[in-house]
């Protein structure tokens, strides 16, 4: 049983090592070829370990909290780790031909690889951390790697987008850090597990909660702090966009989830939770409306992320705010995680597929989609399948998520959120319709193409989001690993 216990450490160490190698000896093919399988193996270890032995808790350096930092791999973090591994793994393979290193190393061709590996390590660090300050470092790590990836294309627009992102991200970091400082001042520990056991009704803790929530909301691009996201994600190269849109906002959301459900489950006031829910709901509607209005493919997909992030925040009014777990709490909580994970797969698939369409067409106007079903059927199919998840249609993880959230909304009598969830699906159809419909048009003009093997990858990723909907029982149970027992019962 020592092997599974290694998994948390290795899931940070392996990509870090890969990043170091990528800096020194840029051989992407080799690195990807070794790292991705290795990470998948580590993930398998983690999943096995968590399934058999419950949450894996690793006190780094042998120092128990509060002195040391604990790495915690419970169901939730393992789920995010696995989703990250699958997504980034695929993205890296897709990126291979797009960031080649031949005789002469190029700027982007070199920089992409260490940045991608570092982002991977950073995300894993976030998902594993059981310490709020360590999370701060990891989140900053994510932010900085993201910034670099956003600006990777190096044109004024992208640099501008990166700077704008930086404003929000920096503010978020500051607010979060201040919150952490206040929490430490109040409680003398930053360990999530220990914080959970302490009363948290003092001023400092509550101010900290407000700051942390707002800061992370800004990083997650919750409406109305979302405006940085579309230009940033749309401007990056497609494989980078895939990682950014699929995973990066999830990292800060994950922390929010940890904070509200694990660290300070009793601190939340009902009105504040409703406020967060309302912002999420607005994000769904507003992001969708803007997505409909976009004329660029990548912008559209990016605005879709704004909308989809809104769903995540519905978990707060639906599952938060009570020490006594309600029967629907587990459903709502799991639903939001399902949404996060399936959205990760689907959004990454969509960005990659759109990227392929854009590569073939040479531009990212809507007409890049023309005749896609005929020219690049697999890409078109990948888009379609990921659209299914984004719309929350069965059979997909998106649907399972939406179903769970909806059930919770009705069970808890919060019908307004139910209405929004449903409306969001319809709106998603509205904005995804345009590109998908164009795929059926006859193609005009000259288009290149992308090798079939490359096209297959986004499709595989998209199918993952569907598989998550079809075989959702096992992930559901898995996610409950390490949750408080009362919440596991679910809605009868």
């Amino acid at each position: 049983m020592i092997l599974p216990a290694l998994a948390p450490a290795l899931s940070v160490a392996v990509p870090l090592a890969a990043a170091f190698l990528a800096v020194v000896a840029p051989r992407p093919r080799l690195l990807v070829g070794v790292t991705v399988p290795a990470m998948l193996a580590v993930m398998a270890l983690a999943v096995l370990g968590v399934r058999q032995g419950g949450p894996l808790v690793l006190a780094v350096g042998g120092w128990e909290p509060p002195l040391g930092i604990a790495l915690v791999a419970d169901g939730l973090s393992t789920a995010f780790l696995v989703a990250t591994a699958l997504t980034i793994g695929t993205v890296l393979v897709v990126a291979l031909p797009q960031f080649p290193i031949r005789q002469n190393e190029t700027r982007a061709g070199w920089a992409f690889w260490p940045l991608a590996f570092l982002l991977w390590a950073a995300l894993n660090a976030v998902f594993l951390s059981g310490d709020l300050f360590n999370i701060y470092v990891a989140i900053e790590f994510v932010t900085l790697a993201t910034l670099a990836l956003v600006a990777l294309e190096g044109k004024a627009k992208q640099v501008e987008a990166a700077m704008r992102y930086a404003m929000f991200a920096l503010f978020g970091s500051l607010a979060y850090l201040l919150g952490v400082a206040l929490l430490y001042a109040a409680h003398g520990t930053l360990d999530i597990g220990l914080l959970a056991q302490l009363p948290a009704q003092d001023t400092a803790s509550l101010v900290a909660a407000g700051l942390i929530t707002a800061g992370l909301a800004a990083k997650t691009a919750l409406f109305p702090f979302h405006a940085w996201l579309p230009p940033a994600h749309a401007g990056a190269p497609a494989p980078a966009s895939a990682m950014l849109s699929a995973l990066v906002p999830k990292a800060s959301f994950y922390v929010l989830l940890r904070f509200w459900f694990d660290a300070m489950p009793e601190a939340a006031g009902a009105i504040a939770l409703q406020l967060l829910g309302a912002l999420g709901a607005t994000a769904i509607v507003y992001g969708s409306i803007l997505a409909v209005r976009q004329n660029r493919l990548k912008q559209l997909v990016a605005y879709s992320t704004v909308a989809q992030i809104g769903y995540l925040f519905l978990v707060f009014p639906l599952a938060g705010g009570s020490a006594e777990p309600q029967p629907w709490t587990a459903g709502a909580w799991t639903g939001s995680v399902f949404h996060a994970v399936s959205h990760a797969f689907a959004k990454a698939a969509m960005f990659l597929a759109v990227g392929h369409a854009v590569l073939a067409a040479g531009h990212d106007r809507m007409s890049a989609m023309d005749g896609l079903t005929r020219r690049m059927p697999m890409t078109a199919f990948a888009l379609g399948v990921s659209a299914v998840t984004l719309m929350g249609l069965p059979p997909s993880g998106g649907f399972t998520a939406k179903f769970l959230l909806l059930t919770a909304a009705f069970a808890s009598g919060q019908v307004l959120w139910a209405a929004i969830i449903v409306l969001g699906g319809v709106l998603a159809a509205a904005y995804l319709f345009r590109p998908l419909a164009r795929a059926f048009l006859p193609d005009r003009g000259r288009y290149g193409t992308v090798p079939r093997a490359q096209q297959a990858l986004p499709l595989a990723l998209a199918m993952l989001s569907v598989v998550l909907g079809i075989v959702s029982a096992a992930p559901y149970d898995f996610l409950q690993t390490g949750r408080p027992a009362a919440a596991e019962e679910g809605l009868e």
């Binding site: 290694l6 930092i69 390590a121 470092v137 600006a151 001042a185 001023t203 407000g210």
Partner: protein, 311 residues
């Protein structure tokens, strides 16, 4: 009593300088105020007895950040970038109001804190022996919470890659920053010859002392970086090309070493586990490696992305 007066005066000064840095009409003036501000904050840390932090603030907060900003201002000014007009009073009022509110909340939070909470001081003291070092801050940094520090060093690496990736494509493979030159035998050049040995000594000392006294790889590394930058500014050395294998090894060495120790720890009791009997040597090794990489990385960060032809 005098202590209180000193504290109050220092606080007021800090606040005033901060205001000046924020509100100053002239950007350059703001940056200068910021450097002063860093210096005063370092005083505050000293006053609070947090010498390690004071060192870091002095080296990094006031020093390196200030240099970065000064360079940037100069660069923008040369680029002919105009200063924007200040915001409308109405917007300013609203912004100010909300900031006052925020500060008030923080103040309220501080007021509500338990005056006798001791934090982890005692716990650290209890475990100091097992950490292998005498400086409790270093013990926390490199042992108890070494994982934070590992990530932190990698953050520097990320940023360096990010800065480099902002180069123009045509300059890839070239050397970071602009070629510096100085009047041979002039004040600058002389300065560049004089100061380095002193700085080098100070840097190595701060790193070495860090295990048992205030100091450590970050503070020391920063000093080393400053030294190298000084020499470079004096036109005496030039940065190697960004593609140079040795350069890259240097920037990666520290974090890689740290990671290697961390992973090796798995076989000795757990991730990042430093056996107490070897802890001191291990920490010193790590600190040395880190100082090297940090120095190189910080220096390169200040130098900026390659801005000269490849070869």
């Amino acid at each position: 009593m005098t202590g209180a007066i000193f504290d109050i005066v220092l606080c007021l000064l800090i606040l005033a300088v901060a205001l000046a840095a924020i509100l100053g009409r002239d950007l350059f003036g703001s940056v200068v105020f910021f450097i002063v501000y860093g210096l005063l904050v370092a005083l505050a840390w000293t006053r609070l007895g947090a010498v390690d932090v004071a060192l870091a603030e002095a080296a990094i907060g006031a020093g390196l950040t200030g240099v970065l900003l000064v360079g940037a201002v100069a660069r923008l000014r040369r680029g002919g970038v105009v200063e924007p007009t200040p915001p409308r009073p109405l917007a300013r009022g609203a912004q100010m109001g909300i900031c006052v509110l925020a500060a008030g909340l923080v103040g309220a939070a501080i007021a509500g804190l338990d005056p006798d909470a001791a934090g982890l001081t005692a716990t650290v003291a209890q475990n100091l022996e097992a950490s292998g070092v005498g400086n409790p801050v270093t013990a926390v940094l490199l042992n108890f919470r070494g994982y934070d520090t590992l990530l932190e060093t990698v953050v520097l690496l990320v940023v360096l890659i990010g800065v480099w990736s902002l180069a123009e494509d045509r300059y890839w493979g070239g050397r970071p920053g602009l070629r510096q030159h100085a009047k041979p035998g002039g004040v600058l050049a002389t300065y560049g010859r004089f100061l380095p040995p002193l700085g080098l000594l100070a840097g190595v000392y701060v790193v070495w002392a860090g295990t048992d006294q205030p100091g450590g790889a970050f503070q020391g590394g920063t000093i080393l970086a400053a030294v190298w930058l000084l020499v470079a500014m004096a036109g005496l050395v030039d940065a190697p090309p960004v593609t140079a294998r040795r350069l890259r090894l240097t920037i990666v060495a520290g974090p890689a070493l740290f990671l290697a120790v961390a992973v090796a720890g798995i076989f000795m009791g757990g991730f990042l586990h430093l056996p107490p009997e070897h802890a001191k040597q291990l920490i010193q090794t790590i600190e040395a490696g880190l100082a090297l990489s940090i120095a190189a990385t910080l220096a390169l960060l200040v130098a900026g992305p390659p801005q000269r032809g490849a070869r």
